[in-house]
Symmetry: C2
Subunit: 584 residues, 2 copies
């Protein structure tokens, strides 16, 4: 809905094209109505494709959608910043920076949790709707009464716009226009976020959204063409239109621009809900890192939200927040996922047509039963699939050099990554499988414990006490850099060592880790079968990073060095030294 | 010695100044001869100041020297690149990049160890000496025979050089000239690197070095003034002189420039030996992170070498490898450490004058005994101290705006950091002291072991086996995201759990760490006095970073979360899954 605002940049003869887009929107709305009711627990392209077409189409849809969610954030926020820049041209050079700050702001709101973000985003939405409908209404009234003149001081035409009026302009208008259609997928994907009855509410929302989007698209495009607004990076069409309708940049102009900016920035929020949700789904199926499937302490998918923000910000910086540079990347993915989702639905109706009346087929995502209207429904979804597929192919071919190649390259790469991750998880699982497993070995292995000591102090004695809890076979090890200290240490040990064996390792060259590793490796070669060695490291623990830098993390170094050595466990026993201020 | 090459940039009336510098060099050589013989095991300014003047002057000297070693690397390498750029002006724009690559190259040689770097650096040194003396010799011969004309196409005068011929030019020549004197300190600091008899060899080296340096300085400056060479960022004076002497840029020109470049880059090597050595000394006294005092597996101070390279590279990038911008930073530190070192030596002779004949005073660094020539020696070192102090003050005042302020700001900051580090170590040591310590508590605490399981597989069973080795009180814990799995897991546990108690924690919101933390915290509040809790985490271990990213490091997260909780130990039991290729 919101991206419609950015979708009217191509003015020349755009109005008929907008009508075509609205027709496409109608087809999509109808076919997604069916998806919503068939998948009451959420039917995004990934799920629909997975359940009806198989793994590979699902992964393609997943890759396309994840890319598009990222682009949604980049494009929406960049469009929002373009509005600000229209009102305050001095900010033009800082647009990428402003956009990144906005992305970070939305990220923080989303990391705080769903509830707060609902409230935060509702007010601007209504504010925008009031402002934009008022502006469009006044504009149409002035148009009818003949008082609406042409735009004053329009920005300079871009060179691009002077291209011959054929394929290029059609594509430009089409591509920008279609970005407004992604909200359709968002609703279908996010059904679970609606109140019960979910499918019904989601369906009503979908129709309302399509209605608002369609009427705004038509009204704004008609008005913009009438006043002779010019697509430009410096000033948005909305800005040109609004200042023409209100005869200048007064309070109503600023309010409309503010509302538009807010709503565009908030539009990114759709992606902040959808990207983590979809990546959790994909991760749960084992095609993305498992961490993405778990929620953090604020009950949000923190990993997903953070990843989305970082990648979107990088894109904004890379494309300098230029909407016209980002949009070509966008359209293919949307239509690819539309096509897959609609094909999946069509296939589903075809399957339901095979069933007998009353028969039920329980599948992963939903229950399938015979529907006597299956042929008509298949036709609607099939029409959607064909229409979106045609649009996608047109984009892929004609916008290839404008950025579409990036997406055509990126999607197979992403799918390959999904597969690589999946095959890794499967490999690990098969290696860890308990089939043909004889059990973890006998229960009475020898347990040898080594305690490396940097000195004899409270911290190391605590570690020693812990070590003695683990086994009776404890050896303390000290690296002796200065031979003069040997005797002093021995005396101290006699008092505090509590009878534990102390080994001193000479280190004439002031090395620390190497003598210890040599000693451990020697023990490893000499050890008996079933003997387990535990290294208990006294570790200074600090809460400030600079204090951390002053103490060697011996346990981490040993863990890294002995990573692939079986039969050895590294434990650190922390000793905590209170801060100076508490002491005084 | 080497920096002499960069030290002739100010031509105007520089020759008398060079004579003044040579006189200063003579004073320094004489007074450092005394230091070398008084401190046969290494007498850098830090040690001399520490042993004779106290902690604070020692730290000031240490800060000044460490800063200067870093600047030595930046300045020497930048000067070397300036020679290359003189021969190949097309490379001018890439000079900072070339310089950083060179620093990294020297770093790698030094990280490989001392022996290799000795060989690597000896050949270029002799090559340079042959080339530069040959060039100077031919130049002087042509001068005498009257065939040495003026320099052809000299680079444009800098605006700076057109300033009135007073304080400014004197300072410029002086500052650049004195950078050549830092080798004196380097020898004194690095005595231990010489063969036995060390003091004698070091002393001989010092005199040879001063002789070579002095004669080269005089000859090159005289020739450069005679031919009218011009100081410039684009072409070095050496390059102008050499191409005039050889009538063009033939093979001898290139060989001389190559030798000069190599020797300048190698000059940085002095700092690569001295910086880590000095920082190890300071670290050993507890004023820098302890890690700097230990050697790595190649028997070099890896931390010190790496830190030096990084900071020097940053400086090169910051000052765009401009020698004339870096040099003003340099001189103050050198002369500050000279002054402190010479004052310390003077004070030392004064003390020795207080002793009776034959009496000995054993001090930290060296043995002090009565020396009947103490008054003369005190005079020599005192003269050195006064001369260097005067030079330092002139620099600090007159070059303040040119960069000296950075050093005047940096030195106190560094000294404060030294103190902060020292006070941290002292605080920790006092907290860990065994004085008034009642011992680490009784020997029969209860030991409770918790094993969080993500699933029942070979890895988790290994961890369970290890856990049972530690204690009889073992509880396995599973986070239940999907309640449907509870029964399946329970059945699997009955087969493989070996009688261990299994607790399932519900996590309806797909959280993972939080329910586990809640459970552990509950146990912590319920635990009896003296009860120790160990969490044994089965941890997937991988050698490739991308595989690592696919597995949650639960142990690390728990360790971070429970960092400051006493009485709990986190252990990870690694399970290693072999690579696919080994499997097939």
């Amino acid at each position: 809905m919101i991206l419609a605002v950015a979708g009217t940049q191509a003015m020349g003869m755009a109005f008929p094209l907008v009508i075509a887009i609205v027709i496409l929107l109608t087809i999509l709305t109808l076919s997604y109505e069916q998806t919503i009711h068939a998948y009451p627990s959420g039917g995004g392209a990934y799920i629909v494709a997975r359940d009806n077409l198989g793994e590979f189409p699902a992964l393609v849809a997943g890759a396309a959608l994840l890319t598009d969610y990222i682009l949604t954030v980049s494009v929406s926020v960049s469009s929002g910043v373009a509005q600000i820049v229209s009102a305050y041209p001095a900010l033009f050079d800082y647009r990428a920076m402003i956009a990144v700050v906005m992305v970070m702001f939305i990220m923080l709101i989303n990391l705080r949790g769903v509830k707060e973000s609902g409230v935060t985003f509702a007010v601007p939405t209504y504010f925008f709707l009031v402002m934009i409908f008022m502006t469009a209404g006044i504009g149409l009234f002035r148009l009818v009464t003949g008082t609406l003149g042409p735009v004053m001081n329009p920005p300079q035409f871009n060179v691009e716009v002077l291209h011959p009026i054929t394929l290029f302009l059609i594509l430009r208008a089409f591509s920008n226009g279609t970005t407004s259609l992604t909200g359709v997928e968002a609703i279908s994907n996010g059904i679970t976020a609606f109140n019960e009855p979910r499918s019904k509410n989601a369906g009503i929302t979908l129709i309302w959204m399509a209605g608002i989007l369609g009427s705004l698209l038509l009204a704004i495009t008609y008005l913009a063409v009438h006043i002779g607004a010019v697509p430009s990076e410096e000033e948005t069409v909305i800005s040109q239109l609004t200042r023409t309708i209100y005869n200048g940049q007064g309070i109503l102009y600023l309010a409309t621009i503010l509302g538009t900016t807010l709503i565009l920035v908030m539009a990114a929020n759709t992606a902040f809900a959808d990207f983590p949700r979809l990546s959790a789904l994909v991760a749960n199926d084992g095609f993305l890192p498992r961490q993405l499937a778990f929620k953090g302490s604020r009950l949000v998918f923190s990993y997903g939200i953070t990843s989305l923000s970082i990648i979107a910000s990088l894109l904004i910086i890379l494309f300098d927040a230029s909407v016209s540079a980002l949009v070509p990347l966008y359209a293919i993915g949307v239509f690819l996922s539309f096509t897959l989702s609609q094909s999946g639905m069509a296939h589903r109706w075809w399957k339901s047509g095979r069933l007998k009346a009353g028969e039920e087929l329980v599948e992963r995502g939903s229950t399938l039963h015979y529907d006597k209207g299956w042929w008509g429904k298949m036709f609607v979804n099939g029409l959607g699939a064909v229409a979106t597929c045609v649009v996608m192919l047109i984009f892929a071919i004609t916008k290839f050099t404008e950025g579409a190649w990036i997406v055509l390259l990126l999607t197979p790469i992403l799918v390959s990554i999904f597969w690589a991750i999946h095959s890794h998880y499967r490999h690990v699982a098969s290696k860890l499988s308990l089939e043909n497993y004889g059990g973890p070995g006998p229960h009475t292995p020898r347990h040898r414990v080594i305690v490396p000591l940097s000195g004899i102090h409270r911290g190391s004695l605590e570690a020693l006490r812990y070590a003695r809890l683990l086994s009776d076979d404890v050896t303390a090890v000290h690296i002796l850099v200065d031979p003069a200290e040997a005797e002093k240490l021995q005396r101290k040990w006699e008092k505090w060592g509590d009878g534990v064996r102390l080994v001193m390792l000479d280190s004439p060259y002031r090395q620390f880790i190497e003598p210890l590793l040599d000693y451990i490796n020697e023990l490893m070669t000499l050890r008996q079968p079933n003997e387990v060695i535990t290294v208990v490291v006294p570790q200074f623990v600090s809460t400030t990073p600079w204090e951390k830098a002053l103490h060697t993390n011996t346990a981490s170094i040993l863990r890294e060095e002995l990573l692939t050595t079986a039969g050895i466990v590294i434990t650190d026993v922390p000793y905590i030294v209170s801060e100076k201020k508490e002491e005084e």
